[in-house]
Amino acid sequence: MSDHAPVTDWVHDFDHTDPRWTENPFPIWDELRAECPVVHTKRFLGCYLPTTYEAVKQVAYDTEHFSSRRVIVRDVRPEITSSAPPITSDPPEHKPAKQLLLPPFTPDATKKLEPRVRAICNELIDEFIADGKCDAAARYSKHIPVRAIAHMLGIPEKDGDLFIKWIHEILELGIKDDDILMQAVHEMTEYFAGQIEQRRRHPTEDLISTLMNARDKNGQPLSDKHVQGSLRLLLIAGIDTTWSAIGSSLWHLAKTPEDRHRLVAEPELLPTAIEEFLRAYSPVTMAREVVKETVISGCPVKPGNMVLLSFPAANRDPAVFPDADKVVIDRKENRHAAFGLGIHRCIGSNLARMEMTVAIEQWLKRIPDFRLDPAGQVTWSEGTVRGPRQLPMLFKKAA
């Protein structure tokens, strides 16, 4: 495991795994944006960071010069052995791979899951509401998306802890340690191979069977490798992302009584507030690999480098969002890019929005008054997905 030297010059040597970035990235992004629309670091074998909404958008829309074959910025860049279509696909392979997955994730399709998600939220709250305190990340936000996606895939919700372990190893530890990453991918592959085998004998009606039964444009079933890759994607992308978004929203509400009171009094404002939490605390930073030389916002970018595609930084750009550094829960115009821009728009965006809305709604209904526990410490995840991993809260015990 390689340790990174602390950053002293953010403009020429940025590092998104530096503890200061993890703790509070917003002033760093503002500093970099004021300096240049695209900055570069020699770390991670060479990586650019577009800092403005416009530059992020240009990269996201440009699949000719920027490939999605690598979507995580890491210390090493080994040969690509496992893909996760469609997130790691470029045109023309991208569209058919994505279209296979889209129908189960439309707003109407995800709406069917809502009762289960609401029940999950209530079951979790039941476990700690009598205590008057809890770690809202470890005991609430963390468990909602993993159980929901398990439900969709048709695998036991109790396997959630296993999934959470793999995700931590792939998205956080894997940035600096290739062995841990490969081991986690191997374990996931074995797990899903078992699930696929079971369904060969006993077909089901869940998302795994949907993928197994899918046919490509030539009428052929998808390869096991493709099915495995897509399952890996759904699991990795669908869990700590939404967990982070729910956690950040609760963190904001815990420290901002006026917003909390307003949402309790005006629950109809919640969908608008959720969009603002998505903008202000976007959890997901993606990546691209430069495959052809080009110019972004006047800055030349060269092949061989990665691009850290920070939708969270784009969403804080004051050129696009008035009062970009303020959380305005009734913000009317909000073209935020929390779910990406262009062809790789997050497939799970409707699911994530539903989970966030239900999770915050149920929490506010049952725990309308809460605050951060001054005796505890809030900690944030490092790297690709940002959200609270410890979120100690105090609230009135339920009668």
Partner: protein, 82 residues
Amino acid sequence: MRDDRRNDRGTRDMPGKLKIHVDQDKCQGHARCKSLAPELFVLDKFGNAHEAGDGSVPAGLEDKAWLAQANCPEIAIDVIEE
């Protein structure tokens, strides 16, 4: 820009004179429009948005049309004043 237009002329003064159109080359299925103005948009089986009917905005729904346009991350929605 949009606000200027609305404030100067006032969409409320021109009922039923707006038309919307979703550019299929731009829409990526964020579905923000469907959430903000469900009466004006339909989603296909992939979740991509299309204007409902011929895109005419019924009187009284003008603000929703503008709101949907202002929240589309891909800038895929055209609102045309006839």
